[in-house]
Protein backbone atom coordinates (compact mmCIF):
# COMPACT_ATOMS: atom_id res chain seq x y z
CA UNK A 1 0.00 0.00 0.00
CA UNK A 2 1.48 3.33 -1.07
CA UNK A 3 0.96 6.08 1.42
CA UNK A 4 1.30 9.84 1.22
CA UNK A 5 1.80 11.67 4.52
CA UNK A 6 1.03 15.36 4.53
CA UNK A 7 3.48 17.14 6.79
CA UNK A 8 3.49 20.81 7.69
CA UNK A 9 6.22 22.95 9.16
CA UNK A 10 4.87 25.18 11.90
CA UNK A 11 6.40 27.69 14.31
CA UNK A 12 7.87 25.96 17.36
CA UNK A 13 4.98 24.61 19.42
CA UNK A 14 5.98 26.54 22.53
CA UNK A 15 7.10 29.76 20.84
CA UNK A 16 4.97 32.88 20.98
CA UNK A 17 3.21 32.99 17.63
CA UNK A 18 2.76 36.28 15.82
CA UNK A 19 1.05 37.59 12.74
CA UNK A 20 3.16 39.79 10.52
CA UNK A 21 2.09 43.42 10.34
CA UNK A 22 2.45 43.67 6.58
CA UNK A 23 0.06 41.00 5.30
CA UNK A 24 -1.43 39.55 8.51
CA UNK A 25 -0.21 36.02 7.85
CA UNK A 26 1.64 33.85 10.39
CA UNK A 27 5.15 35.18 10.90
CA UNK A 28 7.40 32.22 10.07
CA UNK A 29 10.64 34.16 9.79
CA UNK A 30 11.26 35.10 13.39
CA UNK A 31 10.67 31.71 14.96
CA UNK A 32 12.17 28.27 14.70
CA UNK A 33 10.23 25.96 12.42
CA UNK A 34 9.42 22.44 13.58
CA UNK A 35 7.38 19.55 12.25
CA UNK A 36 3.76 19.96 13.30
CA UNK A 37 3.60 17.70 16.33
CA UNK A 38 0.48 15.89 15.20
CA UNK A 39 2.08 15.11 11.85
CA UNK A 40 4.74 13.11 13.69
CA UNK A 41 2.00 10.65 14.60
CA UNK A 42 0.91 10.55 10.97
CA UNK A 43 4.45 9.78 9.77
CA UNK A 44 4.84 7.10 12.43
CA UNK A 45 1.52 5.48 11.51
CA UNK A 46 2.45 5.44 7.81
CA UNK A 47 5.81 3.86 8.62
CA UNK A 48 4.17 1.19 10.76
CA UNK A 49 1.72 0.30 7.99
CA UNK A 50 4.59 0.14 5.52
CA UNK A 51 6.65 -2.05 7.82
CA UNK A 52 3.72 -4.42 8.30
CA UNK A 53 2.41 -4.63 4.76
CA UNK A 54 4.93 -3.09 2.36
CA UNK A 55 4.61 -0.19 -0.05
CA UNK A 56 6.21 3.22 -0.06
CA UNK A 57 5.77 6.29 2.07
CA UNK A 58 5.94 9.68 0.38
CA UNK A 59 6.03 12.92 2.33
CA UNK A 60 4.08 15.81 0.88
CA UNK A 61 4.78 19.27 2.21
CA UNK A 62 3.48 22.63 1.08
CA UNK A 63 5.51 25.49 2.45
CA UNK A 64 8.40 27.89 1.94
CA UNK A 65 12.00 26.83 1.21
CA UNK A 66 12.68 26.54 4.92
CA UNK A 67 10.14 23.70 5.23
CA UNK A 68 12.73 21.37 3.73
CA UNK A 69 14.14 20.95 7.27
CA UNK A 70 10.87 19.33 8.28
CA UNK A 71 10.82 17.17 5.16
CA UNK A 72 14.30 15.98 6.06
CA UNK A 73 13.13 14.99 9.52
CA UNK A 74 10.31 12.89 8.07
CA UNK A 75 12.79 11.23 5.70
CA UNK A 76 15.15 10.63 8.63
CA UNK A 77 12.34 8.90 10.47
CA UNK A 78 12.07 6.49 7.53
CA UNK A 79 9.85 7.85 4.75
CA UNK A 80 11.06 6.82 1.29
CA UNK A 81 10.76 10.04 -0.69
CA UNK A 82 9.32 13.51 -0.55
CA UNK A 83 7.47 16.04 -2.65
CA UNK A 84 7.84 19.70 -1.72
CA UNK A 85 5.23 22.04 -3.12
CA UNK A 86 6.97 25.38 -2.93
CA UNK A 87 6.01 28.57 -4.73
CA UNK A 88 5.84 32.17 -3.58
CA UNK A 89 2.36 32.27 -5.11
CA UNK A 90 1.13 29.95 -2.34
CA UNK A 91 1.98 32.40 0.45
CA UNK A 92 -1.06 33.33 2.50
CA UNK A 93 -3.31 30.50 1.29
CA UNK A 94 -6.21 29.73 3.62
CA UNK A 95 -7.50 26.25 4.40
CA UNK A 96 -9.77 26.06 1.37
CA UNK A 97 -7.07 27.02 -1.13
CA UNK A 98 -4.49 24.88 0.66
CA UNK A 99 -6.73 21.86 0.21
CA UNK A 100 -7.02 22.69 -3.50
CA UNK A 101 -3.23 22.95 -3.88
CA UNK A 102 -2.61 19.74 -1.92
CA UNK A 103 -5.25 17.88 -3.94
CA UNK A 104 -3.52 18.95 -7.16
CA UNK A 105 -0.14 17.88 -5.80
CA UNK A 106 -1.60 14.53 -4.76
CA UNK A 107 -2.53 13.90 -8.39
CA UNK A 108 1.18 13.73 -9.19
CA UNK A 109 1.84 10.96 -6.63
CA UNK A 110 0.35 7.46 -7.06
CA UNK A 111 -1.14 6.44 -3.71
CA UNK A 112 -3.76 4.33 -1.94
CA UNK A 113 -3.85 6.19 1.32
CA UNK A 114 -3.22 9.71 2.57
CA UNK A 115 -2.46 10.23 6.25
CA UNK A 116 -2.45 13.57 8.05
CA UNK A 117 -2.30 14.84 11.60
CA UNK A 118 -5.71 15.92 12.81
CA UNK A 119 -4.74 19.61 12.82
CA UNK A 120 -1.75 21.94 12.70
CA UNK A 121 -0.66 23.62 15.88
CA UNK A 122 -0.48 27.06 14.23
CA UNK A 123 -3.75 27.46 12.32
CA UNK A 124 -5.69 24.79 14.25
CA UNK A 125 -8.46 24.60 11.66
CA UNK A 126 -8.67 20.81 11.54
CA UNK A 127 -10.52 20.94 8.22
CA UNK A 128 -7.86 20.03 5.66
CA UNK A 129 -8.40 16.23 5.86
CA UNK A 130 -12.14 16.58 5.24
CA UNK A 131 -11.62 19.13 2.46
CA UNK A 132 -9.06 16.88 0.79
CA UNK A 133 -11.48 13.97 0.89
CA UNK A 134 -14.15 16.13 -0.70
CA UNK A 135 -11.84 17.44 -3.41
CA UNK A 136 -10.29 14.09 -4.31
CA UNK A 137 -13.42 12.01 -3.91
CA UNK A 138 -11.58 9.67 -1.56
CA UNK A 139 -13.21 8.25 1.56
CA UNK A 140 -12.97 10.41 4.65
CA UNK A 141 -11.66 8.52 7.68
CA UNK A 142 -10.90 11.28 10.14
CA UNK A 143 -9.99 11.46 13.84
CA UNK A 144 -8.51 7.96 13.85
CA UNK A 145 -7.15 6.59 17.09
CA UNK A 146 -6.43 3.25 15.45
CA UNK A 147 -5.87 2.33 11.81
CA UNK A 148 -6.12 -1.17 10.31
CA UNK A 149 -5.27 -1.81 6.70
CA UNK A 150 -6.86 -4.70 4.80
CA UNK A 151 -6.85 -5.73 1.17
CA UNK A 152 -8.02 -2.57 -0.55
CA UNK A 153 -9.78 -1.38 2.60
CA UNK A 154 -8.99 0.72 5.61
CA UNK A 155 -10.73 0.48 8.96
CA UNK A 156 -10.33 3.05 11.70
CA UNK A 157 -11.57 3.77 15.18
CA UNK A 158 -12.86 7.33 15.03
CA UNK A 159 -12.40 9.13 18.34
CA UNK A 160 -15.59 10.80 19.58
CA UNK A 161 -16.43 12.74 22.75
CA UNK A 162 -18.00 9.69 24.33
CA UNK A 163 -16.09 6.77 22.84
CA UNK A 164 -15.32 5.70 19.29
CA UNK A 165 -16.99 4.70 16.03
CA UNK A 166 -15.64 1.99 13.77
CA UNK A 167 -15.51 3.33 10.22
CA UNK A 168 -14.41 1.34 7.20
CA UNK A 169 -13.90 2.31 3.58
CA UNK A 170 -12.31 1.14 0.38
CA UNK A 171 -9.11 2.85 -0.75
CA UNK A 172 -8.25 5.50 -1.79
CA UNK A 173 -8.91 7.06 1.55
CA UNK A 174 -7.88 10.11 3.56
CA UNK A 175 -7.06 9.35 7.18
CA UNK A 176 -6.37 11.89 9.90
CA UNK A 177 -4.88 10.64 13.14
CA UNK A 178 -5.28 11.95 16.68
CA UNK A 179 -2.55 12.38 19.21
CA UNK A 180 -1.40 9.27 21.08
CA UNK A 181 -2.35 6.87 18.29
CA UNK A 182 1.27 5.74 18.56
CA UNK A 183 4.62 6.86 19.86
CA UNK A 184 6.59 8.56 17.08
CA UNK A 185 10.15 7.38 16.66
CA UNK A 186 13.19 9.65 16.87
CA UNK A 187 15.43 9.83 13.81
CA UNK A 188 18.42 7.54 14.27
CA UNK A 189 21.88 8.43 13.00
CA UNK A 190 21.50 5.85 10.24
CA UNK A 191 18.15 7.39 9.32
CA UNK A 192 19.70 10.86 9.20
CA UNK A 193 22.45 9.63 6.87
CA UNK A 194 20.03 7.70 4.66
CA UNK A 195 17.69 10.70 4.34
CA UNK A 196 20.26 12.62 2.36
CA UNK A 197 20.15 10.08 -0.45
CA UNK A 198 16.35 9.90 -0.71
CA UNK A 199 14.61 11.55 -3.65
CA UNK A 200 13.10 14.97 -3.03
CA UNK A 201 10.94 16.39 -5.82
CA UNK A 202 10.14 20.08 -5.90
CA UNK A 203 6.87 21.21 -7.45
CA UNK A 204 5.94 24.73 -8.46
CA UNK A 205 2.38 25.86 -9.14
CA UNK A 206 2.87 25.11 -12.83
CA UNK A 207 4.32 21.63 -12.19
CA UNK A 208 1.27 20.66 -10.17
CA UNK A 209 -1.20 22.26 -12.56
CA UNK A 210 -2.37 24.70 -9.91
CA UNK A 211 -4.08 27.84 -11.20
CA UNK A 212 -2.25 30.72 -9.58
CA UNK A 213 -5.33 32.92 -9.17
CA UNK A 214 -6.97 30.22 -7.05
CA UNK A 215 -4.27 30.22 -4.34
CA UNK A 216 -2.30 32.60 -2.16
CA UNK A 217 -3.55 35.63 -0.29
CA UNK A 218 -5.55 36.95 -3.22
CA UNK A 219 -7.05 33.59 -4.13
CA UNK A 220 -8.21 32.82 -0.59
CA UNK A 221 -11.86 33.08 0.31
CA UNK A 222 -11.13 34.20 3.85
CA UNK A 223 -8.85 36.98 4.99
CA UNK A 224 -7.70 38.50 8.24
CA UNK A 225 -9.27 41.95 8.52
CA UNK A 226 -7.76 42.99 11.81
CA UNK A 227 -5.97 41.50 14.78
CA UNK A 228 -4.84 42.59 18.20
CA UNK A 229 -2.81 41.13 21.02
CA UNK A 230 -4.64 39.27 23.73
CA UNK A 231 -5.35 41.71 26.58
CA UNK A 232 -3.15 41.19 29.63
CA UNK A 233 -4.59 39.19 32.47
CA UNK A 234 -6.65 41.30 34.87
CA UNK A 235 -5.32 41.60 38.40
CA UNK A 236 -7.15 39.33 40.81
CA UNK A 237 -9.27 40.51 43.71
CA UNK A 238 -7.37 40.67 46.98
CA UNK A 239 -9.25 39.76 50.12
CA UNK A 240 -7.68 41.20 53.24
CA UNK A 241 -8.40 39.17 56.33
CA UNK A 242 -9.76 41.41 59.06
CA UNK A 243 -11.31 38.62 61.01
CA UNK A 244 -13.93 38.10 58.30
CA UNK A 245 -11.66 36.59 55.60
CA UNK A 246 -13.49 33.29 55.68
CA UNK A 247 -16.91 34.74 55.09
CA UNK A 248 -15.58 37.06 52.34
CA UNK A 249 -14.12 34.04 50.57
CA UNK A 250 -17.41 32.21 50.92
CA UNK A 251 -19.24 35.25 49.52
CA UNK A 252 -16.91 35.34 46.52
CA UNK A 253 -17.33 31.63 45.81
CA UNK A 254 -21.09 31.96 46.17
CA UNK A 255 -21.14 34.94 43.78
CA UNK A 256 -19.35 32.80 41.18
CA UNK A 257 -21.87 30.02 41.85
CA UNK A 258 -19.02 27.74 42.91
CA UNK A 259 -20.57 26.83 46.25
Amino acid sequence: MNIVVCVKQVPDTWAEKKLSDSDKTVDREGVEGVMNELDEYAVEEALRIKEASGGEVTVLTMGPEKAVETIRKALSMGADQAVHLVDSGLHGSDALTTSYALAKALETIPHDLVILGVESTDARMSVIPAMLAERTGAAQLTFARKVEVGDGTVKIERQTDTGYDVVEAATPAIVSVVEKINEPRYPSFKGIMAAKKKPLTTLTLGDAGIESEKVGLAGSGSSVAEFSARPPKQAGQVVKDEGDGGSKLAEFLASQKLV
Partner: protein, 334 residues
Amino acid sequence: MRLSADEDALAFGQSVADLYKDIADSAALRAAWDSDAGRIPGLWARLAEIGVLGAMVPEDYGGLGLDLRSVLPVLVASGWNAVPEPLVETLVGSALLAAAGGSAAKQWLPAIAEGAAAVGLGLGPGQLVFGAQWADVLILRDPVGDAHLVEPSQVTMNPATSVDRGIRVAHVDWSPSPATRLPDVNADDFLDVAIVGVAAQLVGLAQTMLDLGVKYALQREQFGKVIGSFQAVKHQLADVYVANSFARPVVARAAWSVATDQPSSWRDASHAKFAAGRAARLSARTALQVHAGIGYTYEHDLHMYLKRTWSLTSMWGDQAWHRTRVADAVLEEE
Protein backbone atom coordinates in the same frame (compact mmCIF):
# COMPACT_ATOMS: atom_id res chain seq x y z
CA MET B 1 40.55 21.80 9.41
CA ARG B 2 36.91 21.78 10.39
CA LEU B 3 36.33 21.94 14.11
CA SER B 4 32.58 22.46 14.38
CA ALA B 5 30.12 19.60 14.15
CA ASP B 6 28.81 18.76 10.68
CA GLU B 7 25.16 18.78 9.65
CA ASP B 8 24.65 15.08 10.39
CA ALA B 9 26.13 15.38 13.86
CA LEU B 10 23.90 18.37 14.60
CA ALA B 11 20.80 16.49 13.40
CA PHE B 12 21.84 13.53 15.56
CA GLY B 13 22.18 15.86 18.55
CA GLN B 14 18.77 17.37 17.81
CA SER B 15 17.16 13.93 17.66
CA VAL B 16 18.62 13.06 21.06
CA ALA B 17 17.60 16.46 22.45
CA ASP B 18 14.01 15.77 21.31
CA LEU B 19 14.12 12.37 23.01
CA TYR B 20 15.36 13.96 26.24
CA LYS B 21 12.68 16.66 26.05
CA ASP B 22 10.03 13.93 25.94
CA ILE B 23 11.30 11.38 28.43
CA ALA B 24 14.29 12.83 30.27
CA ASP B 25 13.15 16.29 31.35
CA SER B 26 13.78 17.73 34.79
CA ALA B 27 10.78 15.88 36.26
CA ALA B 28 12.19 12.57 35.02
CA LEU B 29 15.61 13.55 36.37
CA ARG B 30 14.07 14.29 39.76
CA ALA B 31 12.29 10.93 39.75
CA ALA B 32 15.62 9.26 38.96
CA TRP B 33 17.28 11.11 41.83
CA ASP B 34 14.57 9.92 44.18
CA SER B 35 14.80 6.30 43.03
CA ASP B 36 17.22 3.63 44.19
CA ALA B 37 18.32 2.83 40.65
CA GLY B 38 19.12 6.47 39.97
CA ARG B 39 18.38 6.18 36.24
CA ILE B 40 15.52 7.06 33.90
CA PRO B 41 13.56 3.90 33.06
CA GLY B 42 13.67 3.00 29.38
CA LEU B 43 16.10 5.74 28.37
CA TRP B 44 19.09 3.46 27.82
CA ALA B 45 17.17 1.29 25.35
CA ARG B 46 16.00 4.37 23.42
CA LEU B 47 19.56 5.69 23.24
CA ALA B 48 20.65 2.35 21.78
CA GLU B 49 17.76 2.42 19.29
CA ILE B 50 18.71 5.74 17.75
CA GLY B 51 22.36 4.81 17.59
CA VAL B 52 23.93 6.74 20.47
CA LEU B 53 25.36 3.77 22.34
CA GLY B 54 26.80 2.21 19.21
CA ALA B 55 28.08 5.54 17.90
CA MET B 56 31.73 4.77 18.66
CA VAL B 57 31.43 1.02 18.14
CA PRO B 58 32.92 0.00 14.75
CA GLU B 59 30.46 -1.03 12.05
CA ASP B 60 31.78 -4.61 12.09
CA TYR B 61 30.47 -4.92 15.63
CA GLY B 62 27.03 -3.46 14.89
CA GLY B 63 27.85 0.17 15.59
CA LEU B 64 28.25 3.35 13.57
CA GLY B 65 32.02 3.74 13.75
CA LEU B 66 31.89 7.48 14.46
CA ASP B 67 34.52 9.48 16.29
CA LEU B 68 34.13 11.92 19.15
CA ARG B 69 33.42 14.88 16.84
CA SER B 70 30.20 13.31 15.64
CA VAL B 71 28.86 12.59 19.12
CA LEU B 72 29.78 15.97 20.57
CA PRO B 73 26.30 17.51 20.01
CA VAL B 74 24.75 14.43 21.63
CA LEU B 75 26.98 14.90 24.68
CA VAL B 76 26.17 18.62 24.88
CA ALA B 77 22.46 17.70 24.82
CA SER B 78 23.10 15.16 27.58
CA GLY B 79 24.63 17.98 29.58
CA TRP B 80 21.53 20.19 29.18
CA ASN B 81 19.41 17.65 30.93
CA ALA B 82 22.06 16.38 33.36
CA VAL B 83 21.11 12.93 32.12
CA PRO B 84 21.80 10.35 34.82
CA GLU B 85 23.22 7.54 32.69
CA PRO B 86 26.79 6.17 32.25
CA LEU B 87 26.95 7.70 28.79
CA VAL B 88 30.50 9.07 28.65
CA GLU B 89 31.78 5.96 30.42
CA THR B 90 30.14 3.65 27.90
CA LEU B 91 31.12 5.67 24.82
CA VAL B 92 34.73 5.92 25.95
CA GLY B 93 34.74 2.25 26.95
CA SER B 94 33.50 1.27 23.49
CA ALA B 95 36.20 3.37 21.80
CA LEU B 96 38.85 1.74 23.98
CA LEU B 97 37.57 -1.77 23.31
CA ALA B 98 37.46 -1.04 19.58
CA ALA B 99 41.13 -0.02 19.73
CA ALA B 100 42.02 -3.14 21.70
CA GLY B 101 40.12 -5.49 19.37
CA GLY B 102 40.31 -9.22 19.92
CA SER B 103 37.99 -11.32 22.02
CA ALA B 104 37.10 -8.53 24.44
CA ALA B 105 35.82 -6.41 21.55
CA LYS B 106 33.93 -9.36 20.10
CA GLN B 107 32.31 -10.14 23.40
CA TRP B 108 31.33 -6.66 24.52
CA LEU B 109 30.98 -4.26 21.60
CA PRO B 110 27.82 -5.74 20.05
CA ALA B 111 26.20 -5.80 23.49
CA ILE B 112 27.15 -2.17 24.10
CA ALA B 113 25.71 -1.08 20.74
CA GLU B 114 22.46 -2.90 21.50
CA GLY B 115 22.15 -1.26 24.89
CA ALA B 116 22.62 -4.58 26.67
CA ALA B 117 25.85 -3.59 28.42
CA ALA B 118 27.04 -0.45 30.20
CA VAL B 119 30.65 0.31 31.05
CA GLY B 120 32.15 1.50 34.33
CA LEU B 121 35.32 3.50 33.82
CA GLY B 122 38.30 3.91 36.12
CA LEU B 123 41.05 5.65 34.18
CA GLY B 124 42.41 7.88 36.93
CA PRO B 125 43.94 10.27 37.93
CA GLY B 126 42.04 9.35 41.12
CA GLN B 127 41.10 5.82 42.09
CA LEU B 128 37.39 6.32 41.50
CA VAL B 129 35.41 4.22 39.05
CA PHE B 130 32.51 6.07 37.49
CA GLY B 131 29.33 4.23 36.60
CA ALA B 132 30.65 1.23 38.56
CA GLN B 133 27.36 0.25 40.18
CA TRP B 134 25.53 0.41 36.84
CA ALA B 135 28.20 -1.43 34.87
CA ASP B 136 28.15 -4.84 33.24
CA VAL B 137 31.85 -4.53 32.60
CA LEU B 138 34.61 -2.38 34.07
CA ILE B 139 37.57 -0.87 32.25
CA LEU B 140 40.33 0.07 34.67
CA ARG B 141 43.80 1.57 34.44
CA ASP B 142 46.68 -0.09 36.26
CA PRO B 143 49.56 1.90 37.81
CA VAL B 144 51.72 1.66 34.68
CA GLY B 145 49.01 2.94 32.35
CA ASP B 146 47.69 -0.26 30.80
CA ALA B 147 43.95 -0.79 30.48
CA HIS B 148 42.24 -3.87 31.91
CA LEU B 149 38.85 -5.41 31.35
CA VAL B 150 37.30 -6.71 34.55
CA GLU B 151 33.85 -8.03 35.31
CA PRO B 152 32.08 -6.59 38.35
CA SER B 153 31.99 -10.07 39.94
CA GLN B 154 35.82 -10.12 40.01
CA VAL B 155 36.19 -7.00 42.16
CA THR B 156 35.21 -5.64 45.53
CA MET B 157 33.17 -2.50 45.10
CA ASN B 158 32.93 0.14 47.81
CA PRO B 159 30.32 2.65 46.73
CA ALA B 160 31.33 6.27 47.29
CA THR B 161 28.69 8.87 48.02
CA SER B 162 28.23 11.79 45.67
CA VAL B 163 26.26 14.99 46.14
CA ASP B 164 24.97 14.23 42.64
CA ARG B 165 22.35 11.51 42.92
CA GLY B 166 22.41 11.09 39.17
CA ILE B 167 25.83 9.48 39.09
CA ARG B 168 27.21 6.26 40.58
CA VAL B 169 30.81 6.08 41.64
CA ALA B 170 32.81 3.57 43.68
CA HIS B 171 36.24 2.63 44.93
CA VAL B 172 37.14 -0.70 43.41
CA ASP B 173 39.59 -3.24 44.86
CA TRP B 174 41.04 -5.37 42.08
CA SER B 175 44.28 -6.97 40.95
CA PRO B 176 45.58 -6.47 37.42
CA SER B 177 46.78 -9.63 35.71
CA PRO B 178 47.95 -10.60 32.22
CA ALA B 179 44.54 -12.20 31.74
CA THR B 180 42.67 -8.95 32.33
CA ARG B 181 45.05 -6.72 30.39
CA LEU B 182 43.84 -5.26 27.10
CA PRO B 183 46.61 -5.25 24.49
CA ASP B 184 47.76 -2.29 22.45
CA VAL B 185 45.92 0.46 24.27
CA ASN B 186 47.21 3.28 26.35
CA ALA B 187 44.63 4.04 29.02
CA ASP B 188 45.72 7.68 29.18
CA ASP B 189 44.70 8.32 25.57
CA PHE B 190 41.17 7.32 26.48
CA LEU B 191 41.24 9.35 29.64
CA ASP B 192 41.53 12.32 27.27
CA VAL B 193 38.43 11.15 25.39
CA ALA B 194 36.52 10.96 28.67
CA ILE B 195 37.74 14.42 29.67
CA VAL B 196 36.46 15.95 26.43
CA GLY B 197 33.19 14.05 26.77
CA VAL B 198 32.58 15.56 30.19
CA ALA B 199 33.69 18.98 28.93
CA ALA B 200 30.94 18.78 26.29
CA GLN B 201 28.39 17.93 28.97
CA LEU B 202 29.57 20.91 31.01
CA VAL B 203 28.96 23.24 28.07
CA GLY B 204 25.38 21.98 27.84
CA LEU B 205 24.90 22.20 31.57
CA ALA B 206 26.18 25.79 31.66
CA GLN B 207 23.60 26.64 28.99
CA THR B 208 20.75 25.10 30.99
CA MET B 209 21.60 27.05 34.12
CA LEU B 210 22.01 30.27 32.13
CA ASP B 211 18.58 29.70 30.55
CA LEU B 212 17.06 29.16 33.98
CA GLY B 213 18.74 32.31 35.30
CA VAL B 214 17.59 34.42 32.34
CA LYS B 215 14.05 33.10 32.58
CA TYR B 216 13.84 33.88 36.27
CA ALA B 217 15.41 37.33 35.81
CA LEU B 218 12.63 38.13 33.35
CA GLN B 219 9.89 37.07 35.79
CA ARG B 220 11.00 38.13 39.22
CA GLU B 221 10.17 41.74 40.02
CA GLN B 222 11.83 44.01 42.52
CA PHE B 223 11.40 47.78 42.92
CA GLY B 224 8.54 47.46 40.44
CA LYS B 225 10.70 46.10 37.62
CA VAL B 226 11.90 42.70 36.49
CA ILE B 227 15.33 42.12 38.00
CA GLY B 228 16.77 41.31 34.56
CA SER B 229 16.46 45.01 33.71
CA PHE B 230 19.11 45.89 36.31
CA GLN B 231 22.67 46.03 35.02
CA ALA B 232 24.02 44.30 38.10
CA VAL B 233 21.98 41.26 37.14
CA LYS B 234 22.05 41.29 33.36
CA HIS B 235 25.78 41.89 33.11
CA GLN B 236 26.43 38.83 35.25
CA LEU B 237 24.27 36.71 32.95
CA ALA B 238 25.99 38.18 29.91
CA ASP B 239 29.35 37.20 31.40
CA VAL B 240 28.15 33.60 31.63
CA TYR B 241 27.07 33.69 28.01
CA VAL B 242 30.49 34.99 26.99
CA ALA B 243 32.35 32.39 29.07
CA ASN B 244 30.32 29.54 27.60
CA SER B 245 30.63 30.89 24.06
CA PHE B 246 34.39 30.93 24.52
CA ALA B 247 34.40 27.38 25.93
CA ARG B 248 32.50 25.83 23.00
CA PRO B 249 35.24 26.16 20.35
CA VAL B 250 37.85 24.97 22.84
CA VAL B 251 35.81 21.81 23.38
CA ALA B 252 35.33 21.37 19.63
CA ARG B 253 39.07 21.77 19.13
CA ALA B 254 39.79 19.15 21.78
CA ALA B 255 37.37 16.70 20.17
CA TRP B 256 39.18 17.23 16.88
CA SER B 257 42.57 16.68 18.49
CA VAL B 258 41.42 13.51 20.22
CA ALA B 259 39.62 12.15 17.16
CA THR B 260 42.59 12.75 14.88
CA ASP B 261 45.13 11.59 17.46
CA GLN B 262 47.13 14.81 17.72
CA PRO B 263 50.20 14.93 20.00
CA SER B 264 48.53 17.86 21.78
CA SER B 265 45.41 15.83 22.66
CA TRP B 266 46.10 15.77 26.37
CA ARG B 267 46.72 19.52 26.52
CA ASP B 268 43.64 20.33 24.42
CA ALA B 269 41.47 17.97 26.48
CA SER B 270 42.53 19.65 29.71
CA HIS B 271 42.08 23.10 28.19
CA ALA B 272 38.55 22.09 27.16
CA LYS B 273 37.59 20.73 30.54
CA PHE B 274 39.05 23.73 32.30
CA ALA B 275 37.27 26.24 30.04
CA ALA B 276 33.96 24.38 30.12
CA GLY B 277 34.28 23.82 33.86
CA ARG B 278 34.90 27.50 34.45
CA ALA B 279 31.89 28.48 32.33
CA ALA B 280 29.68 25.95 34.13
CA ARG B 281 30.83 27.08 37.56
CA LEU B 282 30.23 30.71 36.67
CA SER B 283 26.83 29.77 35.28
CA ALA B 284 25.97 27.81 38.44
CA ARG B 285 27.07 30.61 40.73
CA THR B 286 25.30 33.30 38.72
CA ALA B 287 22.07 31.32 38.33
CA LEU B 288 22.08 30.72 42.07
CA GLN B 289 22.64 34.42 42.80
CA VAL B 290 19.86 35.42 40.41
CA HIS B 291 17.44 32.95 41.95
CA ALA B 292 18.59 33.74 45.47
CA GLY B 293 17.86 31.19 48.17
CA ILE B 294 15.08 29.43 46.28
CA GLY B 295 17.59 28.09 43.74
CA TYR B 296 19.34 26.12 46.41
CA THR B 297 16.29 24.28 47.67
CA TYR B 298 15.96 20.65 46.71
CA GLU B 299 12.55 21.37 45.19
CA HIS B 300 14.03 23.71 42.56
CA ASP B 301 15.50 22.20 39.38
CA LEU B 302 18.57 24.39 39.66
CA HIS B 303 19.57 22.37 42.73
CA MET B 304 20.17 19.28 40.61
CA TYR B 305 22.13 21.22 38.00
CA LEU B 306 24.33 22.88 40.65
CA LYS B 307 25.28 19.51 42.02
CA ARG B 308 25.87 18.11 38.57
CA THR B 309 28.27 21.03 37.97
CA TRP B 310 30.21 20.15 41.08
CA SER B 311 30.38 16.47 40.23
CA LEU B 312 31.39 16.97 36.60
CA THR B 313 34.01 19.63 37.35
CA SER B 314 35.75 17.26 39.74
CA MET B 315 35.39 14.19 37.51
CA TRP B 316 38.52 13.02 35.61
CA GLY B 317 40.68 15.68 37.26
CA ASP B 318 39.57 18.88 38.95
CA GLN B 319 40.05 22.42 37.68
CA ALA B 320 43.47 22.81 39.31
CA TRP B 321 44.75 19.55 37.83
CA HIS B 322 43.67 20.51 34.31
CA ARG B 323 45.06 24.02 34.63
CA THR B 324 48.38 22.58 35.71
CA ARG B 325 48.43 20.23 32.74
CA VAL B 326 47.85 23.14 30.36
CA ALA B 327 50.47 25.23 32.16
CA ASP B 328 52.99 22.39 31.89
CA ALA B 329 52.34 22.08 28.18
CA VAL B 330 52.73 25.82 27.61
CA LEU B 331 55.90 26.10 29.66
CA GLU B 332 57.39 23.07 27.97
CA GLU B 333 56.93 24.69 24.59
CA GLU B 334 58.86 27.79 25.56
